[in-house]
């Protein structure tokens, strides 16, 4: 057990990040369990504590009597310095146990720019970085989460990846590890890898060999082991309503982000925005029943004492029974000082009515995401929002007393012209004018937040060449010159960060050496502007002889083998291509949740169904008696 000396805890900011002892932690005696998991988030505690996926895995693993799961986060740079000086290895918060003592160290991959932190954490834990350097005596390093759908840039470092919903997979993995340990780890590491490779949703990169063309493009990824599946399908929870949910999550002392009850209404979103990866990899939509959610909300409030329930899902306003649910929650909890909040609003007046009912958003402004500045471009990305929708929504918000509006857009989308970019500014001014028309005076504040589009694997835009940094900067400049009203504030993203994100999002296994080299030269916390060092990355690319533009800035052939083709979300590549073509033609695709099935391949391919408890649905999908 690691002991922290007060003399060095005084040297770090927020020492509470490293001391654990929070409410509801599960602390098991390592001697009484057969398998141990360290669940790792590759960023600081205050960011990582809010991750729902890890809360779910923590809950499920600790429900198993012979398994222990503990938590670990990336120490901030000040604590890292102390740990390196004092020789303290990276440890978990429950038992202050060194990571290297765990059977499994599992990382969640939420963001490409956290990859160097994974390397740094392994290094701080004294665990060899390369999978090939780790034997049966070392921890197994595994990873899951959205970025696992293109696992390749991390393939050198991770023993196996878990694709899709983790609820069931993690139990299978735990059982496999227990059996392997019972056998005295017979067959060594090769044996455990072969065992897990047979589990649905598990990808063991060492069992596959990438082959490249002379020009650098991928020729094929071939299996080299009998247990290797091609492709590896994601795992999916068919009955989300019946799935286990963390009803007694750890409650931090520190003020962390999203520090509230998180109630997951449903998983998946089939609105079909063509830039959105989550909309593909979490398909299809599966809702929980309102009664289940009310029961969970009660347990969560009772077990945590939080004063806010956040309805979290990809697009919470789409929940079929939202009105009833919100009313019931408000009614039930109002005497306990517990409010309800919605993290995202749809661009329509229905959402405004709802926002009026829930209190928490009152004091802050409202956020809408039209994503693109013109109708033409919104059609390209299949964002089903019209100018009229936006006008109605914002108008309703102003009438209801709001005066601050935040608008989210992207630049660098396929087919984008300068007119589309100017359209963003037009919308901002229209919103200001709308306020004046409604209220008879000026006084609205509009924040225009513009991110740079990064094409992601498993989306319709996975073939598209990302705009280069010069082009994005030019468009940012154009917007800056147009948004010169003091009632409009304009935020944009660092082009270098988006470029690097784009390289790793669609990268292949060869990027492993770049990652290693950048980390060796000090790259870490790349997602934090104060730590991001582009020069280090440029040097790492140069030393590795790899051109980052090859990954991010190249239009890929439609028949090209993509580095993630052997990892399947269940959505057919052909469907994505069809969507890409529809995008270029400006054609719309309807949401299959209540509209027609677009035949993306998930439901038939993985034997699942859309589950939505609302009325008036397409009768192809079973309702009610599921």
């Amino acid at each position: 057990m690691i002991k922290l000396d007060p003399s060095f805890m005084g040297k770090v900011i927020k020492p509470g990040r490293y001391t654990g002892n929070e409410l509801n932690i599960v602390r098991k005696d390592p001697a009484t369990t057969l398998a141990s998991f360290a669940l790792a988030f590759p960023d600081v505690y205050d960011v990582g504590m809010s991750n729902l996926g890890l809360k779910i895995l923590y809950h499920i693993l600790n429900q198993m009597s012979d398994v222990a799961a503990e938590r670990v986060y990336a120490p901030w740079v000040d604590m890292e310095l102390v740990m390196r000086q004092e020789g303290i290895p990276l440890y978990t918060l429950e038992n202050m146990r060194p990571l290297a003592e765990f059977d499994v160290v599992g990382f969640t991959l939420q963001y490409e720019l956290s990859y160097t932190n994974i390397l740094n954490m392994l290094d701080l834990a004294d665990i060899p970085l390369l999978a090939s350097q780790r034997s049966a005596q070392h921890s197994l390093v595994i990873a899951g989460g959205p970025c696992a759908f293109n696992a390749e840039p991390l393939a050198d470092f991770v023993d196996f990846f878990v694709l899709g919903d983790g609820e069931e997979t993690i139990k299978d993995v735990a059982h496999a590890v227990i059996e392997w340990k019972r056998s005295g780890k017979a067959g060594g590491k090769a044996e455990i890898l072969a065992r897990v490779a047979a589990i649905e949703g598990v990808y063991v990169p060492a069992f596959y060999d990438p082959i490249y063309h002379a020009d650098g493009r991928m020729a094929a990824v071939t299996a080299n082991h009998p247990a290797a599946k091609t492709p590896v399908n994601k795992r999916i929870v068919r009955d989300l309503d019946g799935a286990e949910y963390p009803n007694k999550p750890v409650v931090p002392y520190l003020d962390v982000i999203h520090d509230r009850v998180m109630l997951e209404l449903f998983r998946g979103c089939t609105r079909g925005c063509r830039f959105c990866q989550a909309g593909v990899i979490y398909r299809p939509v599966r809702e929980r029943q309102p009664q289940t959610l009310l029961k969970l909300a009660q347990e969560l409030v009772d077990n945590t004492g939080y004063d806010e329930i956040s309805l979290t899902s990809l697009s919470s306003a789409d929940y079929s029974c939202l009105n009833n649910l919100v009313e019931s929650l408000i009614e039930r909890f109002k005497n306990q000082g517990v409010s309800v909040s919605l993290p995202s609003l749809r661009v329509d007046s229905f959402s405004i009515k709802l926002a009026q009912e829930v209190q928490k958003v009152r004091k802050s402004g409202l956020t809408f995401a039209p994503e693109a500045g013109t109708q033409r471009l919104r059609d390209v990305i299949n964002k089903g929002v019209t100018e009229k929708n936006l006008e109605e929504a914002v108008g309703a918000a102003f009438q209801a007393g709001w005066s601050t509006v935040k608008l989210y857009f992207m630049i660098g989308l396929p087919t984008e012209t300068d007119d589309d970019v100017r359209g963003i500014a037009d919308i901002a001014y229209k919103v200001l004018d709308l306020y004046k028309t409604i209220k008879g005076r000026r006084g609205a504040k509009v924040t225009v937040s513009v991110s740079s589009f990064v094409p992601k694997p498993h989306t319709a835009f996975q073939w598209y060449a990302q705009n280069d940094m010069v082009e994005i900067e030019r468009k940012q400049q154009l917007l800056r010159s147009l948004l010169r009203d003091r009632n409009i504030s304009f935020n944009w993203h660092d082009v270098k960060v988006s470029f690097l994100e784009g390289v790793f999002a669609r990268g292949d296994r060869r990027l492993g050496k770049v990652l290693l080299s950048a980390w060796q030269q000090g790259a870490k916390f790349d997602g934090w502007s104060e730590h991001f060092r582009f020069d280090v990355w440029q040097e790492a690319f140069r030393q590795s002889g790899i051109d980052p533009a090859f990954y991010a800035l190249r239009d890929r052939e439609h028949n090209e083998v993509l580095p993630w083709d052997h990892l399947s979300s269940g959505v057919d590549k052909e469907f994505l291509l069809q969507e890409y073509r529809a995008a270029l033609a400006g054609g719309l695709t309807v949401d299959c949740r209540r509209g027609m099935c677009g035949d993306c391949g998930v439901c038939s391919g993985l034997g699942v169904e859309v589950i939505d408890w609302g009325e008036g649905r397409n009768d192809k999908v079973t309702t009610g008696d599921y």
Binding site: P6, G10, L254, D255, Q336, R362
Partner: protein
């Protein structure tokens, strides 16, 4: 409206949480206890609770006080039982009493804090050097210290806040200091600040960062009578 006063201890394991974190922790524990806590009116209702004196980060305490208002009368015993079950393992509740009659706010009431500080053992010379440092400190009339603050530094005379001579005994673990400090409407001095001065200006042995500081009492001193808020 029932008002209750609570006496609470804050343990070793959570000494690194701030006062705000602690306040939030208590608020959540009260909510879990399902006691009928009163809320303020308005869009963002707040639980009606207040604290005596904020504890600095890194300090443990045997004497934290807070008050909470209830919307329905519930006995102190019942609240004690309900809340005791809901506290994280590192926070304990010692006593609960009902506040009767009109009383000053806790924060305005307490004016004296007692701290116990353990400085880890620091070699054979410790006893002599420690006692000498403390006695010189006690004899010095004015001890200036610059309080650092992001909004600008401020020089204070520490001795104005020292209510009694600092005491030191040296045992097997190290030196144990006792400090009695005034809390005034114009401010106070932190035990860590006194310690820092003792080490840096009076050659007290050891590194002040390694010290374990505990608040052992928080009082209302009127003339020569020293009462705990639970006795008011």
């Amino acid at each position: 409206m029932t008002k209750l006063r609570l006496e609470i201890t804050k343990g070793e394991e959570i000494r690194y949480i701030s006062h705000l974190d602690y306040a939030r922790t208590m608020e959540r524990a009260l909510r879990r206890s399902k006691m009928p806590v009163a809320y303020s009116e308005g869009f963002n209702p707040h639980m009606k609770m207040s604290f005596a004196s904020a504890l600095s980060v890194g300090v443990t305490s045997e004497a934290e006080y807070m008050e909470v208002e209830l919307s329905k009368p519930v006995s102190a015993e019942k609240v004690f039982a309900a809340l005791a079950h809901q506290l994280p393992p590192t926070i304990a509740i010692k006593r609960v009493k009902e506040v009767v009659g009109k009383q000053k706010a806790l924060m305005a009431m307490v004016n004296l804090a007692v701290y116990k500080i353990v400085m880890p053992w620091h070699g054979d010379q410790m006893e002599y050097v420690a006692k000498d440092a403390v006695s010189r400190f006690n004899r010095t009339e004015t001890v200036l210290y610059v309080k650092e603050n992001p909004k600008g530094n401020r020089e204070i005379d520490i001795k104005k806040y020292i209510a009694e001579a600092v005491e030191v005994v040296v045992g097997p673990k190290g030196a144990e200091l006792s400090m009695v400090v005034w809390i005034t409407p114009q401010g106070s001095v932190k035990p860590s600040e006194v310690l820092k001065v003792l080490v840096e200006d009076f050659a007290f042995p050891g590194s002040f960062e390694a010290a374990l500081i505990k608040r052992s009492g928080l009082y209302v001193q009127i003339d020569h009578e020293r009462l705990s808020p639970m006795e008011m």
